[in-house]
């Protein structure tokens, strides 16, 4: 194994991983901040560096529908999208996962309208919580590259689709050094796509997506549910294989100084890296603070999260989307459920930050830790609030 170090944006890193995984079909429709992925792929195809059939239909709904057709014909099929584009695909996303087609989407997460805003937050990613996609989030360009290659392997082994996302603009457009595998190494890792079925296999004709009434629908959903639970094993297995190849370690989340932490944040995406320097500063003052940076949102690693946070006194779950439950952000709600079975439950608060690209800086994260500190000392703090608000 020889690693090459190159400067890539998050989008470029993802496009490179997509090329190396050699899809048979790439179908896309441009949308900020994921358009660069599409243009990179178009360039690869035009230069003869990628053999995929490249299609650009009239909308994201059509993209997802065409992907369904391609994948059910046995083609490794990818797309890239974000925000409204992903939302427009939504109906078809459920059909794709129900048919157990391992299509993989690369995304640069962005807010959802209205009001219209093109910047990064996690609203689009969270909007597909129930779509039965494996959902992986990247902290930086290196993660974007590594997660995409692993995502394809995981999706195809458990026969569920996957989405690999990063923070729109913050990661997607930020040029960073990325260690990349050679083309053949990357492809050997991902392996050849062996479809579960193909509608073009005329020797074995099948009917897909038939009417399924109350006598069979639940059994089909149970098999889908089992596959998502099983994906946890595959995610870890794939991470270990990838580590052998790349030397980089992946799991359900990336802990930072969490082992002995008394107070911690749970966060997803690039903010986890911003928060590391805050932790270093707090540690200098003998405050035992840590981070749980979530990587895998679906399947949600409930037990592992509970295990990792069980010794904390107080935690803030930081969400880059609101979720509008009226109680806390989506990550907060899931993490609360994860902690439910613990004997000594940490105290928890929900903080919403960075919506529509609003800055999240060290000062803001420090203020969050001040709140967690107070909470750990049994002082009253707001349970569900916004960080960096002007009002």
């Amino acid at each position: 194994m020889t690693m090459k170090r190159v400067a890539l944006t998050g989008n470029e890193a993802m496009a490179l991983a997509m090329r190396q995984a050699k899809p048979d079909v790439f179908i896309g429709y441009p949308i900020t901040p994921a358009s660069d992925i599409l243009s990179a792929i178009a360039k690869y195809v035009a230069n003869g560096e990628m053999e995929a059939e490249f299609m650009t239909p009239e909308s994201e709904h059509s993209v997802a529908s065409a992907l369904f057709g391609a994948s059910s014909a046995g083609a490794r099929s990818f797309t890239c999208t974000a925000s409204q584009g992903l939302a427009l695909m939504h109906e078809v996303l459920h059909i794709i996962s129900g048919a157990r087609l391992p299509i993989v989407i690369s995304s640069s997460s962005r807010s959802l309208s209205s009001p219209i805003n093109v910047h990064g937050d996690h609203a689009d990613f969270m909007d597909m919580r129930d779509a039965s996609f494996i959902q992986i989030f990247s902290e930086n360009s290196q993660d974007s590259y590594d997660n995409f290659l692993q995502g394809v392997k995981i999706a195809e082994s458990v026969r569920l689709p996957a989405i690999i996302s990063s923070d729109g603009f913050i990661t997607s457009h930020n040029l960073e050094p990325v260690e990349v595998l050679k083309d053949d190494e990357a492809y050997d890792f991902v392996g050849e796509f062996k479809p579960a079925y193909s509608i073009l296999d005329i020797q074995n004709p099948i009917t897909i997506n038939p009417l399924s009434l109350p006598d069979s629908f639940m059994e089909i959903k149970k098999s889908q549910s089992d596959a998502m639970a099983f994906a946890k094993k595959e995610i870890i297995k794939t991470a270990k294989e990838y580590q052998k190849l790349s030397g980089r370690e992946y799991g359900f989340f990336r802990p930072y100084k969490l082992k002995d932490a008394e107070i911690a944040i749970v966060v997803m995406g690039s903010t986890a890296e911003t928060a590391q320097s805050v932790i270093d500063e707090l540690r200098k003052k003998d405050v035992k603070a840590g981070i749980l940076a979530l990587r895998v949102f679906r399947p949600f690693p409930y037990l592992k999260i509970a295990e990792a946070l069980k010794n904390c006194k107080a935690i803030c779950i930081m969400d880059r989307s609101d979720g509008f439950s009226g109680h806390g952000g989506p990550l907060f709600v899931e993490t609360s459920a994860a902690l439910y079975d613990l004997k000594n439950k940490p105290k928890i608060i929900s903080r919403i930050y960075g919506l529509g690209g609003r800055e999240i800086n060290e000062e803001m994260i420090k203020s969050v830790f001040e709140d967690i500190k107070k909470l750990s000392e049994n002082k009253k703090v707001e349970r569900y609030g916004y960080v960096g608000l002007k009002i």
Partner: protein
């Protein structure tokens, strides 16, 4: 992972619709034909939404195919014979 034959609801055997007896949709009532009242007008045949009225080779009403009758009661409603040649009965 345990093999589940319900994977994605894929059907491998052609013609499986024949095996699907839609009578399971019936909810307690089924039509009953009273042959002696029947005038063979076939109004029931035209109106049945599930083609569950049997017609013999001479074009005569020949009773119900209860495998596919969903028990809607339309045939009993539209039957013009007096007294009715189709009545709905408890299963």
């Amino acid at each position: 992972m345990k093999k589940n034959k319900y994977f994605a609801g894929i059907i491998k055997d052609p013609g499986s619709t024949l095996k699907y007896k839609t009578y399971v949709w019936r909810d307690g009532l089924k039509p009953s034909w009273i042959k002696k009242n029947c005038t063979n007008c076939l109004t029931c045949f035209i109106n049945c939404p599930d083609q569950a009225i049997k017609v013999d080779k001479d074009g005569n009403m020949a009773g119900h195919n209860l495998d596919y009758c969903k028990g809607c009661g339309i045939c009993a409603q539209v039957c013009p014979a007096k007294p009715k040649a189709i009545v709905m009965k408890k299963e």
